[in-house]
Structure formats: C-alpha cells, structure tokens
Symmetry: C2
C-alpha cells in the first residue's frame, strides 16, 4: 500500500510553488533542477494539477506555473486526489462513491461485505489526515527546517 511517485513529485512541486512569490510564474525547469526530478515527467505531473485547477500557467518565454490559490486554502486532499486520481484503499471504492457499505464486486455469499467496513474506515482515516493538512503547513515546515547555507566551504 503505497502512493505513486506522482503524488510525491506533485506534492514537492506544490511546496516549491508555495515558497515562491504569488502570481509570479516559476518555470518547471527551475523546479526540476531544485528537486532533482526529470523535467519531462514533471510536465505530466503538473498537467494534472493544472487540470484540477490547483495551479495556473503562462506559456512562452518567462512563463511558468504558480498557485491558483493561497497555500492556506489548499487542503492536501485536493492535491493528492488530483495526482492519484482517487484516494481509495481498495479497487471497488474507485467507482463507488456512495457511502453504502456494500461490496461492489460480488454479493458475497449472501451477506454484507465485512471488509468494506474496514476499508471505509481506512479511507476515512486517510482523508481526514489529508484534509486537515494544508499546503501552507508544508511550506512553513520546509522553511523552518531550511538549513542555513554554510558560509565557508
């Protein structure tokens, strides 16, 4: 049970944008260099964030990306959801958005799906932790733990 690297890269990208001046475009190249990530792949990642309305972009020379909203107004659940497609502990959750505790894949020997009760709780736990964390917190954290560049080499 692991998130894809898209989530990791995308979150980093968002933190990086959160560290920048608002409204001012930052090129992907700069972010890729700063984080040591492959530029071409980052393009695919940022495309998801753009389609989700989390970042905005400007094309052409000196173009780039910036946050569509203030970091305080961006819950990480939105970010991860945009990157992962959906936040589901099991496959049968992906296409079943109802809260019904009923296993979609089979009637299950004439009784309700007990595992779905469990996965529903797990999903709740994940969502809650993501919803209560804002991008601003991560940006703040990255600032706090920033090491002062050693003056002398």
């Amino acid at each position: 049970m692991i998130f894809s690297s898209k989530a990791e890269y995308g979150v980093r990208l968002m933190v990086e944008l959160g560290r920048q001046v608002p409204e001012h475009p930052t090129s992907l190249k700069a972010i890729a260099d700063a984080e040591g990530l492959p530029l071409a792949y980052l393009e695919q990642v940022v495309a998801r964030l753009r389609k989700a309305g989390l970042v905005m972009s400007a094309r052409g020379a000196h173009g780039g990306y910036w946050l569509a909203r203030a970091p305080e107004d961006i819950p990480m659940s939105e970010v991860v959801q945009a990157l992962e497609g959906s936040i589901a502990p099991m496959e049968c959750f992906v296409h079943d958005h109802t809260e019904r505790v009923l296993c979609s894949h089979e009637p299950d020997a004439g009784r309700g799906c007990a595992t779905k009760l469990l996965w529903t709780r797990v999903q709740g736990g994940i969502l809650r932790s993501l919803q209560t964390t804002t991008l601003a917190e991560l940006v703040e954290f990255s600032r706090r733990t920033e090491r002062v560049p050693t003056a002398a080499a």
Copy 2:
C-alpha cells in the same frame, strides 16, 4: 493508492475463521468455496497469517486453520501488516522505522523533506483506523448483515 488483493483475501479469511467455532479447524477448501477464491492462492495468503502468529493450523485429514486468539484481541492493524508486509504510504517509509521526519532518499536541497511530514500524518491516520478496528467488529458486522436464506426457491 490501493491495498493488494492479499489484504482483501486475508481479511475475508480471518472474518470467516472468526465466524467459526474457536479451536475447531476449518479447511481452506471450505473457505475458498464460501468466498469464491482460488485455493492455491489462499494458501500463500494464509501462510503469512500463520507466520505472524494470527492463525494456527493442523495438518492432515480434518485439519485446517483457526484463530490463535479471540477476535476481540485481534486489531486489524496486525492482520493487514501481516498481509501487506508493512503499512507505508511511501516507499521511503518501508525501511525507516524511526519517527524522524527526514527524507531517507535524499538530503533534498538542504532542507527537511516537507512531504514526509504529510506522509507521516497519512500513515498515522491509516494506522489509527486499523488499530481501533478489531476482527470481532467485522465478524459481528458480517453476522448482522447476514441475509436470512430464502426458504423457498
């Protein structure tokens, strides 16, 4: 982000065992039939549960598996952990059991890994939901939602 089918099958298996008389062995074949799961694959799944000390087994004819403890004393975190190997939202968590919020895969441009703060919270959310759910709850749920077999066909 999805749990493997081992988790699904294994949890079902545990629920099935929880529905049985304690200490009394149930054959995998019976469970495989009841749940409609491939027997040979279930063998691999149950092996993990046995190695984790969650189920006990008896070989030979009329052998089978039963719960090593009462369902009330089995938190689902143990079950899922046995089945999945580890419960980690990101790869770098698997081999880093410390609580240090520090990215294991790279020094990250001279600052702390902000994403790890997020994943730590997510992991906490998952673990809490798994720890506070016992097998007994799932067994109880499966009993409550059991449909009365229709008398007439």
